[in-house]
């Protein structure tokens, strides 16, 4: 199942794109595992995703932790802690 990945702020800048479609292998079941797998895609991905403590994620536009399942997810976003307001 293809997943639309979205990146924001410095994660976007480091990855080099704001959106891409990925198709993780069947063994990738959680957000944490997905980030681990994405890190292997390119040196830019590896650098962007290196500091896990500074990353946050949303699955289908809902904030989730690294243990959240990605089963059935269509859109997953990775970004730094938010700083609006």
């Amino acid at each position: 199942m293809p997943i639309t990945m979205l990146y924001f702020a410095w994660v976007r800048e480091a990855v080099g794109t704001g959106a891409e479609t990925v198709e993780p292998p069947a063994g990738i079941a959680t957000v944490g595992a997905l980030v681990e797998w994405l890190s292997g895609k390119s040196p830019a991905h590896a650098e962007a995703l290196a500091d896990r403590a500074r990353l946050r994620a949303a699955v289908d536009q809902r904030f989730v932790g690294p243990d959240a399942s990605i089963e059935g997810a269509r859109e997953i976003a990775i970004f730094p802690p938010v700083t609006g307001g």
């Binding site: 924001f8 976007r12 536009q61 976003a77 730094p80 802690p81 938010v82 700083t83 609006g84 307001g85």
Partner: protein, 145 residues
Amino acid sequence: MIRAVVQAEPIDLAATLASVEGADAGAVASFSGFVRADDGVSELALEHYPGMTEAVLHGLAEEAATRWQLQAVAVVHRVGPMAPGERIVLVATAARHRHAALEACTFLIDRLKTEAPFWKRERRADGASWVEAREADSGAASRWR
């Protein structure tokens, strides 16, 4: 009346406050956040997560409306580049009594700061940098749970 808007245009304070005032509202509170001119910031740019941002803001506005029995609530957040002194966000609440309006305003800005997917980038003479999230904001948001 519940309104949650994300826009690139400058925020119209008078129009937004007028939109929550009604003949039945005894109390209207508002909060505005501005780009501060200090620290040598020459420009602030706001990035956001289209779709999710609007949903989060609308969800917070609905939660506030229910919790404080608001008669009207408006949340307007600007995105894109802004100059020092410009309004980043405006929250306005209308209720029958003053503490409901004021508390709901505080709730909305506290929760928005930790839950709405916006990211700030500051430009200074020596370059641009992403603003780091503040611990204090998480603390302020958590007291509303």
